[in-house]
């Protein structure tokens, strides 16, 4: 078996799914590791539930996660997908339909899909979904540039951990984020207290409902990963390398 999905909560196929299908909002949450994705979403989901919406949460990760426990405490259906030896972002894209189906079976009005966000090359944003990128004030002021497409393709950028850095650093950091993504709405949220999550809740409620994820398009292509190491090779050396292999260009930046 390539991967396993752990379903918590009962899986029930509702006869009215077709009717409800039209109503599901698809929220994709990306961000650097430990930036506060789960903290922010748990607070946000609590408010969505207060508004009477049905929310389902799914976490895609690599080897292990305890995020399902945190989401489960809200009493909502939760699923986990572990990519194991597969790149978690490729795994994520190839399972979007399955995750969507699962959420529809839960009668969800809102699906929150939290990704692993391990590699800064990938951006999980999909057209017509609401993509949220969560980054924190501690990652350093040059990081917004490095995070690249994940930040650049987000509809909403959430900046956390402003409670522990200076006003000056918050302003500089926010400016750097704006430079990377001038279109996004930027929200300051405290993941510990939930300060600021209502703005995010409102954005989710106002976001477009998705008919079906099938046929939608990634905003940014995933990096190619089809070399021998993708297939389990562990030996070092050119003779073990096959497929798409890229080498360091040591002359880079030395010309001119």
């Amino acid at each position: 078996m390539l991967y396993s999905f752990k379903f918590c909560g009962s899986v029930m196929v509702d006869a009215n799914i077709k009717k409800r299908v039209i109503l599901m909002r698809f929220v994709i949450v990306a961000g650097t590791p430990s930036s506060g994705k789960t903290s922010v979403m748990v607070h946000t989901i609590r408010h969505l539930l207060k508004n009477g919406l049905v929310v389902a949460a799914c976490k895609i990760d690599c080897l292990q996660t305890s995020d399902d426990v945190k989401y489960s405490r809200l009493g909502i259906p939760v699923a986990v997908g572990l990519s194991d030896y597969i790149c978690p972002d490729h795994f994520y894209v190839s399972n979007l339909e399955e995750v969507e189906l699962w959420a529809r079976e839960q009668n969800a009005d809102v699906l929150v899909l939290e990704t692993a966000g391990l590699c800064h090359r990938c951006a999980p944003a999909v057209h017509d979904c609401l993509s949220v990128c969560v980054i924190d004030n501690l990652i350093g002021i040059d990081t917004p540039k490095k995070v690249g497409p994940m930040l650049g393709t987000a509809d909403i950028v959430v900046i956390t951990k402003g409670d522990i850095v200076s006003q000056a650093e918050r302003e500089v950091f926010r400016h750097k984020v704006e430079m990377e993504n001038p279109q996004a709405r930027i929200l300051d949220i405290n993941g510990l207290t939930g300060q600021g999550v209502l703005a995010l809740k409102n954005e989710i409620i106002d976001s477009k409902e998705l008919g079906s994820i099938t046929g939608k398009e990634l905003k940014n292509s995933m990096p190619a990963a089809i070399c021998s190491y993708c297939a389990g090779e562990t030996m070092i050396g050119q003779s073990h390398q096959m497929g798409l292999v890229k080498k360091v260009d040591f002359r880079r930046g030395m010309d001119a």
Partner: protein, 258 residues
């Protein structure tokens, strides 16, 4: 420009309407926020910082120049309106004071950055103990030095018209001077404080209880006299602190009042 902020009351922790339903503060004014631990002082500051519009825990609303702010899509015009300094904040960027202040001044489009950052350094050293220099790394600053730099930066570079201060009395800086520097710029300053001198320095003080604004007191003529006494005592304390910190002994070294 920002001339006034108004806080419209919501609900206390028990869900009852707060006693105080309207508070106004004009440019140049200081408001103190006082009340027992857990009474909702920080929450009030946080409502203001978020330009609350019913949507926070308390259901309060904050008006700017007598109007609800337009939060619909682009909140960008609000981003530099409010600055905050609290005792939990620290500098985390690994950079020299000069590099960082220059960067911040650039972000805030300060006209004369060279001169401004000089002044920030001056104020910092005025407010805290051991002087820092431009080449000092931000992460090397002590707690007091950091807070001093934050106040100076908020005063001159962030330059937000509204400043929220949460319990800086324990920060080891000259808090009376800090408050004077901030109000000197025509800002609205809200200070959360357990310190009677700071409370009396404000024109009004909001008393919090059970999560609600319970009472607003205007500082009376009589209280101003008490404040004058307190300030005198503070000055004496400050003198004494300085004297002892320098390693002098009373009665043996130079006169205490020099």
């Amino acid at each position: 420009m920002l001339e006034q902020i108004t806080i419209l009351g919501g609900l206390d922790k028990s869900g009852h309407p707060e006693k105080i339903q309207r508070i106004e503060a004009a440019a140049g004014e200081v408001l103190a926020v006082a009340g027992p631990t857990g009474s909702g002082k920080t929450q009030l500051i946080s409502d203001i910082e978020q330009h609350a519009e019913y949507e926070t825990l308390t259901g309060r609303r904050v008006l700017i120049n007598n109007q609800l702010v337009n939060k619909s899509k682009d909140k960008r015009h609000l981003r530099y309106l409010i600055a905050q300094v609290s005792q939990n904040m620290n500098f985390v960027i690994d950079m020299s004071i000069e590099e960082f202040l220059t960067m911040h001044a650039q972000v805030r489009s300060i006209h004369d950055p060279g001169n401004t950052i000089m002044k920030v350094l001056e104020i910092t050293n005025h407010l805290s103990g051991e002087p820092v220099t431009f080449s000092t790394n931000l992460t090397q600053l002590s707690g007091g030095q950091s807070r001093a730099l934050m106040v100076a930066d908020v005063a001159l570079i962030s330059n937000a018209p509204v400043v929220l201060i949460d319990e800086i009395e324990n920060a080891g800086i000259d808090r009376l001077q800090a408050l004077e520097i901030l109000t000197g710029q025509g800002k609205i300053v809200l200070v959360v404080s357990h310190d009677p001198t700071l409370m009396l320095m404000a024109e009004q003080r909001i008393i919090m209880k059970n999560g609600g604004m319970e009472k607003v007191c205007r500082t009376t003529q009589e209280e101003r006299k008490v404040l004058a006494d307190l300030t005198r005592v503070e000055k004496k304390m400050a003198g004494l602190r300085d004297y002892l910190r320098k390693g002098y002994s009373i009665g043996q070294d130079t006169d205490l009042n020099d």
